[in-house]
């Protein structure tokens, strides 16, 4: 499961750290740390954490069965000059 927390929204209620402590932890009194790639075994806990967040700051992909993750076509490409930037 891929996870992202909108930390602009996050106000440190720590519900997620309480409900899914293997994925979300508080660092100090307010700052949140989390693992963006949570293991399947934490699925239920992550679902509860996302639902319980008072400011709905947690986005999870693949929480519901059948949510598609499309294969990514990777082009390794030719070597490029650093000046190209992107």
């Amino acid at each position: 499961m891929r996870i992202v927390v909108d930390l602009n929204k996050c106000q440190g209620y720590a519900q997620c750290a309480f409900l899914a402590p293997d994925v979300f932890t508080m660092h100090g009194e307010e700052a949140l740390l989390y693992n963006p790639l949570a293991a399947e075994e934490h699925r239920d806990a992550v679902a509860r954490a996302a639902a319980a967040c008072p400011v709905q700051a947690i986005t999870v992909e693949g929480l519901h069965e059948g949510a598609p993750v499309e294969p990514v076509q990777v082009f390794t490409g030719a070597p490029w000059e650093p000046r190209d930037g992107r």
């Binding site: 909108d6 989390y34 790639l37 990514v72 990777v74 190209d84 930037g85 992107r86």
Partner: protein, 463 residues
């Protein structure tokens, strides 16, 4: 006619997004959400799925997440063609084609540029190439740095005490390494939050055992005969031993590939109107090229229509959504990008958050808590108005600060508060460095003229 074109575009047009990071991904999702059924191509220079960067200097360094797995969750299925691992190398505005570095071309009907920024490298190339010298911006950077730190680094020197540098210093201290931070200004975070708040950040670093050196620049990185970094020479003639050096000198905007394209793009980013439509080099708005995210700079009504470049996570999301909406709607339905600037940082166990544009403020007032306790709410004032707020471990006040900014609330604030305020109820100079002097790069760039001024003052950002 125009409505017919928009209908056709939404149905079977070709939209190309250059930049496959946060802004590019969220723009693509918004296009599909709003009913775009044409062809969608995302071009990215890194060979990875779009991934999140903030954890790289926090959770990842602390070992709570893998640097290889911070991919962003998808909000929906995209049905897009991904061209990853190959950067865009040029733009043909007339022919409506993006040129790729591998020689291929991609045609578009509408283009979104979201190429973001990259880490500013150490300026002396042979010193930057020493083994043990790192920057931290990309996933590859994070993999390289974390592997080295895990391999038993003992003495880390961080060059530059902006947010990224301070977060690296914080994580390294937490892992028990000796850390020296070298900063040209008088304190950490001064570019983004000013000297008063910077002094609090300096106390935080000192209390957590960082060897903080301010008012110094790094004059040279010295290597051993094996090409490994060995020490860092400072402008006060001191020498600091190091086995890892993290260069954290802000960022450069990825606009070089647009050189000669005719687009209004340069070292300060790509200028656009409030609706994310890019300007060409003559200052005329384009119809089919849009910009979003860190690489964009656009005027903001709340802040005197100054052009703001925001290297903020939330801005990348909001601007991408606005740009995507405007790309596929009739002119009368376009929205301006009016997102309230906001960012966060966590370092040394303290949650630092801000709304508005602190560098615009010339005065600061602590309205709750105290800087001595490092738990406070401060508001910045400019010409009698509140223009920004900052909190240390007081995030729940930010919404209030945001409303005050939106309402143009008066500054200094008059209301009494219940809690202790050793500093007293008075505004003090916020102590931002002279904008004409070079800095390692604040997270907000103010540029251009403020219509509030009767006498125009040009304030170049120099970074």
């Amino acid at each position: 006619m125009a409505a017919d074109y928009v209908d056709w575009l939404r149905r079977e047009g070709r939209i190309v997004i250059v930049g496959a990071s946060l802004a590019g991904l969220r723009a693509a999702e918004t296009l599909r959400e709003e009913g775009f059924t044409g062809s969608l191509t995302l071009i990215g220079d890194e060979p990875y799925d779009p991934y999140d960067r903030p954890p790289l200097s926090k959770s990842v360094l602390l070992g709570k997440a893998s640097p290889r797995h911070t991919e962003l969750p998808r909000r929906r299925h995209l049905d897009a063609e991904w061209r990853l691992g190959v950067p865009a190398a040029g733009l043909d505005l007339t022919g409506k084609r993006v040129l790729l570095a591998d020689g291929e071309e991609v045609e578009y009907d509408r283009l979104l540029i979201a190429t973001g920024v990259r880490a500013r490298p150490w300026p002396v190339a042979e010193e930057a190439e020493l083994d043990g010298v790192f920057v931290l911006r990309t996933r590859d950077d994070a993999v390289a740095l974390t592997e080295r730190l895990r391999a038993g680094a003992k003495r880390v020197v961080v060059i530059g005490a902006g947010f990224a540098g301070s977060e690296v210093a914080s994580a390294c201290r937490e892992m028990g390494m000796e850390v020296t931070v070298a900063e040209r200004a008088g304190a950490p975070l001064v570019g983004a939050l000013g000297g008063v708040v910077g002094a609090v950040a300096a106390d935080l670093q000192l209390e957590n055992g960082v060897d903080l050196r301010t008012h110094v620049t790094v004059t040279a990185l010295e290597g051993d005969p094996m090409g490994r970094v060995r020490s860092v020479h400072l402008s006060d003639e001191s020498v600091v031993e190091a086995d890892v050096v993290v260069v954290s000198l802000g960022s450069l905007r990825n606009t070089e590939w647009l050189t000669g394209s005719g687009l209004g793009a340069g070292p300060r980013g790509i200028a656009s109107d409030a609706g994310c439509r890019a300007f060409d080099f003559r200052g005329i708005v384009t119809d089919d090229v849009f910009v979003a995210g860190d690489v964009a700079r656009s005027p903001h009504a709340l802040f005197g229509y100054q052009f703001l470049s925001l290297e903020h996570w939330g801005n990348a999301v909001a601007q991408a959504e606005t740009a995507a909406h405007n790309m596929i709607c009739p002119a009368s339905d376009r929205r301006p990008h009016m997102w309230m600037p906001a960012f966060w940082s966590s370092q040394f166990g303290v949650n630092i958050k801000s709304v508005g544009v602190p560098p615009m403020g010339d005065e600061l007032m602590i309205i709750q808590g105290s800087t001595a306790e490092r738990r406070f709410v401060g508001v910045y004032g400019y010409k009698g108005r509140i223009v920004a707020g900052v909190t240390f471990d007081n995030a729940r006040w930010l919404e209030y600060c945001q409303r005050q900014i939106e309402q143009g609330a008066p500054f200094p604030v008059e209301y009494p508060t219940m809690d202790r305020r050793p500093e007293g109820r008075k505004a003090v100079p916020a102590d931002f460095p002279d904008p004409a002097l070079p800095t390692h790069g604040p997270t907000v760039t103010l540029s251009g003229y403020s219509p509030a001024d009767r006498r125009l003052v040009f304030t170049p950002g120099h970074h």
